[in-house]
Amino acid sequence: MPPLLEAIQISFLAMIVIFLVLGILIGVIKVLVHFLPYVEEPAPPVRTQSPVAATGAFQEEDHIAAIHAALAHHLGKAPQDIHIQHITSL
């Protein structure tokens, strides 16, 4: 068989193999996605950000915690090692 003809035939069959392999993969993915559908995780309750919370005490605690962590990092201590005892308005 002349090489060019062989190359053409190889190309043709190789494309078939590729489509076959990737086609099987598609089937597997479809089966997987069908039987293991995405289920939205219940939002972690602690982190809910309702508009109300944003203005209320809870959110404020969160602010303080963030500053607490920043300070801990700044002071080079573990967060549990420092206790914010008083926060004055800057």
């Binding site: 090489p3 035939q9 190889i10 494309m15 078939i16 990737l22 993969l25 993915i29 997987l32 995405y38």
Partner: protein, 397 residues
């Protein structure tokens, strides 16, 4: 002979005097690569160390070519010659890849397959230009637009062509934003380019975890020769998705891939010597590589048009060109060309599906070649060629 003469002789004894024209030209090529990497931002993570490796390898008497026994880059080249480094790169690529868009729209895998048409037409072209089938396969894979896959296959099937193949692969990957848009515009109608695709559905974590395992099993069963590449790619992705190996995921996608990139790129660069690079083969490979990229783009877009028809206008054919891989640049090109027609059209995430599919597609294409031409007699490709010969023989009767 007096002191003056001695100093003169020293001045004339430097490498400046002993340099050969081929080395000089290779040094110029290495400087061009460095220029493209640094100022044109052509895949700088690869082309900068490749260019620097080429520079050192071609400075006379430096013993930095890949073939200089005991030379520094000879040790690095060991990892290319034995196909150790490309799979480790793929471990990092897997750790960096989100297969989510692909899983949300699995039929985009077909676009990743269609883009491999560039691989096979180039194979035919290479044979027409006088390369052997093995060499032609290694050249064709340039159309797959995956550096590590190209290096892996070239090191196995045509190590003497490794340098120009790697250079062509990475260079054209950088040129994707220039090569693809005209082809995409030419092959699509304005109506097609305006298609807005449905939002991708989210994928459960379990599917994301099972996918790398399942695809490894399927692909390696069918094409065992590509096990190191696909295996490491999917292991990296498993590190990423499984949620219990954060340490290994982090290392794979940062310092491990970086270290391996440095070693791999220097080794590839050190193989760019005048003897192996300044040949007609190199020029043919550069031309064939460009053709491969163009055909791959066209193949992806045309298959996209087919999907547009079959899906009754739900698939924008522009995402087909992303099937060449060159992650994530080809996907960005789809996005950009899409927005030329309609500013409110966001194709990026849709193009990520065929984009990562292209990585798998090229690895599969490499697997077919390995089962056809690799040592051993393994896999679907091998039997395909046997079947082919039987058919041909029976047709000839």
């Amino acid at each position: 002979m007096n002191f003056q003469d001695a100093i003169n002789k020293i001045l004339h004894s430097t490498g400046f005097a002993t340099i050969e024209p081929g080395q000089g030209l290779m040094i110029v090529i290495s400087l061009v690569l460095l220029y493209l990497a640094i100022w044109k931002k052509f895949e700088p993570l690869l082309l900068l160390p490749i260019g620097f490796g080429c520079l050192l390898a071609n400075l006379p008497l430096s013993l930095m070519a890949n073939t200089d026994e005991g030379g520094l880059f000879n040790f690095f080249y060991y990892g290319v010659k034995h196909q150790i480094l490309p799979p480790l790169i793929f471990l990092g690529v897997g750790a960096l890849t989100d297969f989510g868009p692909l899983l949300a729209n699995p039929s985009t895998l077909l676009l990743g397959a269609a883009a491999q048409i560039g691989v096979y037409t180039t194979l035919i072209g290479a044979v027409a230009l006088g390369f052997s089938l093995q060499e032609a396969s290694a050249i064709g894979i340039i159309g797959g637009a995956d550096g590590p896959t190209s290096i892996f296959l070239a090191a196995k099937l045509a190590p003497h062509l490794l340098a120009p193949i790697a250079i062509a692969a990475y260079s054209y990957m950088s040129l994707v934003p220039l090569i693809q848009p005209p082809i995409m515009r030419l092959l699509t109608t304005e109506k097609e380019r305006q298609v807005k695709m449905e939002q991708l559905k989210p994928i459960s974590q379990t599917v994301k975890i099972i996918f790398p395992i399942a695809s490894t099993v399927i692909i390696v069963l069918m094409l065992p020769g590509v096990a190191p590449l696909i295996g490491m790619l999917m292991l990296g992705n498993l590190f990423r998705e499984c949620g219990v190996t954060a340490r290994l995921h982090e290392t794979s996608q940062t310092h491990l891939i970086n270290i391996v990139t440095i070693l791999l790129a220097l080794a590839v660069g050190s193989s760019m010597t005048a003897a192996t690079f300044l040949t007609w083969s190199t020029i043919k490979i550069i031309i064939l590589g460009l053709a491969a990229f163009c055909v791959a783009t066209a193949g992806g877009v045309l298959f996209g048009k087919l999907m547009y028809v079959i899906s009754k206008g739900k698939v924008n054919p522009l995402i087909g060109s992303a099937g060449v891989s060159a992650v994530p640049m080809a996907a960005r090109v789809s996005q950009k060309v899409g927005q030329e027609t309609d500013k409110s059209n966001f194709l990026l995430m849709h193009a990520m599906g065929p984009n990562v599919a292209g990585v798998i597609g090229s690895a599969v294409a490499a697997g077919v070649f390995l089962s056809l031409f690799g040592s051993g007699d393994a896999g679907a490709g091998h039997t395909a060629i046997e079947a082919l010969k039987t058919i041909t023989a029976s047709l000839g009767q």
